[in-house]
Symmetry: C2
Subunit: 240 residues, 2 copies
């Protein structure tokens, strides 16, 4: 196994890459075909109607081959999840540049997040189901989605630190995680929202933001600051 170890004496570092690249390029193409077929079908037919068999056929590979690249159907949803996160960021960033008010900026992140979700509402139950399994990569607390989570938390952080009116540092530090938790709950609410175009969720968000706006000055009232901080700590603990 180690017969030729150290055989090349010079510059072999760069030589090793191409073969492994071309080797993986074929594999990468298969992988991409599976991924694309899955994402397309998820968007068109939802989670339940996208079976591993149908998706493998769409990709032109065998069932077993799909499992060679993705250990689980949920891992394929994870790919969709990542794509949605990136679209969220892409949609939010230009709009943040044109806004200064703190609550307005936070609202942008929330509302764009819901907008990204919108196309999937009719399939929400299936996806939701896939998300709650603690061992699923989709679980918001799983290591696999920590990167995706960081994207959203980052958006909230940007919304807060880039605002005209700044918060005290101790609050600025805690708020992003808190808002992310709110986003998670809002999404949960959204997935159960059967009202037309999920208007209830939109209204809930509006009211929540209005309340937040009204509550913000309380942060600077001395005798309210301490309890508010404990409240934040409490909820932050819940968000892990």
């Amino acid at each position: 196994m180690f017969e030729n170890e150290g055989a090349e004496t010079s510059g072999d570092r760069s030589v090793k890459v191409p073969p492994s690249e071309s080797r993986s390029s074929k594999a990468e193409r298969t992988r991409a075909a599976i991924r694309d077929a899955a994402l397309r079908s998820f968007r068109e037919n939802g989670f339940d109607a996208t079976t591993m068999r149908s998706l493998a056929q769409d990709a032109g590979v065998s069932l077993g081959n799909a499992y060679y690249y993705f250990p689980t159907k949920n891992h394929l949803v994870q790919e969709l999840y990542i794509e949605v996160q990136q679209a969220h960021r892409a949609a939010v960033e230009p709009r943040l540049k044109a806004s200064a008010g703190l609550i307005e900026r936070v609202g942008i992140v929330y509302r764009e997040g819901l907008a990204q979700l919108a196309p999937f509402h009719s399939f929400a139950p299936g996806f939701l189901n896939a998300m709650v399994a603690p061992d699923s990569p989709l679980n918001p607390l799983s290591p696999e989605s920590s990167a995706a989570r960081e994207i959203t938390v980052g958006l909230f952080r940007e919304a807060i630190t880039g605002a005209r009116n700044r918060l005290p540092p101790e609050f600025e530090e805690r708020m992003p995680d808190l808002l992310w938790l709110g986003h998670l709950q809002l999404s949960l609410y959204w997935s159960y929202d059967r009202s037309d175009e999920q208007r209830r969720t939109a209204r809930l968000l509006d009211q929540g933001l209005r309340l937040l706006k009204a509550a913000l000055p309380a942060i600077r009232t001395p005798f309210l600051r301490a309890p508010l901080r404990s409240l934040l700590d409490l909820v932050a603990e819940a968000g892990m």
Copy 2:
């Protein structure tokens, strides 16, 4: 079998019942056998390891027969859910008689609720998964579980209205639904809590109750009352 039916000429009211009772009694016995086998297996082996086949075998009936009485595996979990709710009420009621403090009473309901859940923690993921499907009877918002929900909400209402220190009516009215929503979220947190004996959840509850206790006087402060009411309305709206 019914040779002597109608032999008794008087008091036939009670006689009529037995036939219809015995007719359903056979069926009821099958139903109970299935239900019992399911609940025992859920307790011992959890949701995933309890298959419809194994449970049917335990009950001494065929697979198809189990489906004659329970349209879905989730409907069998629903039976377990009801049993747990009733145990919750039975555990809470005597303790409420011996307590007067508002927060203390609310704490009793929360803590007993968690205690009822405790034996199932290792199986929580499977059950959780069954709960989130919007069409599942286990879904907290489903019509099938509205009765079970009423039990818990009722416990919170009892804890509040039976306390030494009463709340303003408008708050007393909204609090039970709110506390129930808190209970739901606490259970969710609990199911993901991997700490020893779910101490984190216990701590979260303690802190939450402490905070609630500190916040209660604020209800009577005039200029805090209005925003607190909107907050309650907001969260109540979320609870449907």
